[in-house]
Symmetry: C2
Amino acid sequence: MTKKFTVTPWKVEGEIDYEKLIKEFGTEHITEKLLHRIEKHTKEPHYMLKRKIFFSHRDMNWILDEYEKGNKFFLYTGRGPSGHTHLGHLVPWIFTKWLQEKFEVELYFQMTDDEKFMYHPKLSVEEANKFAYDNALDVIALGFDQKKTFIFSDIDYAKTLYKQAIRVAKKLNFSTVKSVFGFTNDTNVGMIFFTSVQSVPAFLPSVMKGKNIPCLIPHAIDQDPHFRITRDIAPKLGYYKPAAIHCRFLPPLTGPHGKMSASATETAIYTTDSEEQVKHKIMKYAFSGGRDSVKEHREKGGNPDVDVSYQWLTFFEENDKKLEGVYHAYKNGDMLTGELKHILIEKINSFLKEHQKKKEQAKKVLDKYILKD
Amino acid sequence: MTKKFTVTPWKVEGEIDYEKLIKEFGTEHITEKLLHRIEKHTKEPHYMLKRKIFFSHRDMNWILDEYEKGNKFFLYTGRGPSGHTHLGHLVPWIFTKWLQEKFEVELYFQMTDDEKFMYHPKLSVEEANKFAYDNALDVIALGFDQKKTFIFSDIDYAKTLYKQAIRVAKKLNFSTVKSVFGFTNDTNVGMIFFTSVQSVPAFLPSVMKGKNIPCLIPHAIDQDPHFRITRDIAPKLGYYKPAAIHCRFLPPLTGPHGKMSASATETAIYTTDSEEQVKHKIMKYAFSGGRDSVKEHREKGGNPDVDVSYQWLTFFEENDKKLEGVYHAYKNGDMLTGELKHILIEKINSFLKEHQKKKEQAKKVLDKYILKD
C-alpha cells in the first residue's frame, strides 16, 4: 500500500516518507562519512544529527571544502510569523544556534511577515508584523550571538530586500512557480512574487560585503522548493548556490505523522504555554504507543516508535543514555504511557521555564538583533 | 476595413482609434458640459482640453463634486524611467502641472524604476534607478510646486510602498492580471506582482494622513489597465476609487500613428537633444502632409491632419490663433512643409532651451522634491 503524503511550504500532511522525499526533491542523505567530517570541526556531534532529525542536505561537502580553505559561510534561516512560536519551530533554530557556535559564523534570520499576511485570509499586516517581533524574542532566547545574528522582518526591511528581490523576480516566470509550488490562476500575485523575497538572504551578505560568500540554510524540509529556485537563480546573478541541511518535522501531539500546525492549538505546544497547559495537552492529546490495558502493556510492552511522547523526547532530550533508558523501559513494559508522559512534561516544562525567562530578557536586547535599512 | 491597433502599458502600435478605446476600456468622453464645469474652477480652459488631447476620463464629475464640497483631491501620475525623457512624456505632466496650479493640490509622482528594470531584459537596476532621478529633473523643470510635489523611486521608496503593495497583491490573482495585461506563463513574477506597486500611490496619501482623500490620475490612456485594477481593489481596502483623466499619444515623428517610443531614438525628440539634433530630426523624419511638388502643394494645399509637424504644434503651441493661422496657411497651400517644419523647430528649440536651463537648476532642489521612507 502506498501511503499518501503532502509536503509543501504551506501544507504538510499524512505519513511522511522521508526517504521518498530525498528522492523526489533530489537532495542527499547525511552519510556517516559526512557526519564524521562535520565532527572534525565541531568536536562533538549534535544529537539531532546522530538521531537523523537532520537527515538530508544539499552541498554540505562543498560548504566544508570552502570552510577548510578558510572561506567561511554564513547561515540563513527564517520563520513565517503567523502566530506564536511552537516547539516544532524551535527544532531547526536549536540546531542553527549550535552551528553558529561551532563554526563561529553569522546568521541572517528572515521573518516572512509579508508572505504570512498574503497567505492567511484573515491575518492583517499589523498582526503578522507583530508576530515577527514576538517570534524574534524566541529566537534570541535560544542564545544566538548578538554580534553575529541579524534578524529582519520582510515588511520593515523592504527597502533593502525589494531591490534584490526584483533581480530574482526578473529571472523567474509563472511556469516555474506554478510547477514548483502548484500555484494556479487563483493564486494571488503576492504569493506568486514572494519566493523572490525568500531567495534574497541567500546572497544578501554577498551584496552587502561586496564579495561572494557561501551560504548554508538549515531548515525543515518543507521549505526546500523555495531554495531549489534560489539555487537555480543565484548563479545567474553571480552568487554561489546556497547549501542546505534539512530536518524532519516534530510530529503533532495527536499522532506520529505530519507536522505540528500553529493553527491547531490543541495539538501544538507554544513557547507561551503555562506549565498547566503543557501538562493538560500532553496528558490529553499525546498519541500513545501503549497497550489497551496496563496488564497487556506490562506483558507485551509499548511501542516507542509511534508514541508521540517518546518521539518528542528524541527531539528535546539531549542525553542519549537517558533517552535509551526510556526507550527500553517503555518497550519492555516497565514504563507505562502515563509515566512516559510525565517525563516529557517535566522535560518540556523545565525547558519552557528557562525559555520564558530568557524571552522576557530578550525584550531588552531585541533592537540590537534587528537588521535595519 | 478595420484598422488594427494595440494599446497596452508596454506596447502602443498602429492607427489608434480613440473612440474605440473609450468603448473598449469603458471610460467616458470629456463632454462640453464637463469642460465648462472644469472651467468654472480654473477660470480659463487648458488648450489640451479644448483640443481634446485630454479626451477621456473616469469619475471627473465625482472629483468636482467632492472639490465643491471642500474635499480636495490629490494628483497622482508617474513615469517608467527606461531612458531619457522625450517630448511625449511631457504632455501629461504639463497638464498635471496646470491642474496642480489651478486646484492648488498635492501631486505624488511615481518613478517605476522597479518595473522598467524587470521589463527590459538589458536594463540594470542601477540604470533604471539613475534614469528615475534624471527624469525627475524634467518633472521639476516644468515648474511643479516644491511644497506640494512628492517624487519617489519605487526602488528607493520600497519600505513604504511594499507594505501597501502586499495589501493590494493579496486581493489580486493571476487570472485577473492575465486577462487585463495579457500575461502568460512566461511572464516573470516581478511583472505579475508589479501592478500592485502602481496601485499604491492612489491611496498612499490616505494612509499617511489617516483619512480618505480623493485621487485624480492624469495619464496617457495606455496606463488605464493598471488603474482599472486599482479602482477594483481600492474600495476593498477602504479607499475611494481613483478618478482619471486620459490623454492621447504624441505621434512619432515618422508617422501620424502610434506612440513615440523612447527606444527608437530617431523618431523621438528628447529633452536632452541639442538645437541641431532637433532641427535634423524634424527636417529628416517628420512625416509630411504636403504634396509631391511645390506646384501641386500651392494649388491643392497640404493636409495638416496627417502632417506630424502640425500635429506636434497642437500639443505644444498654446496660442490658438497662431495654430489656426498655420492650419489654414498649410491647408490652402500658402505654407510649404519646409516652412511648417521651421515653425515647429523654432517652437521646440525655444521650449527646450528654457527647459534645459530649468533642468540644470532643478539639480539643486531635487532633494526637496524626493519623498523618503
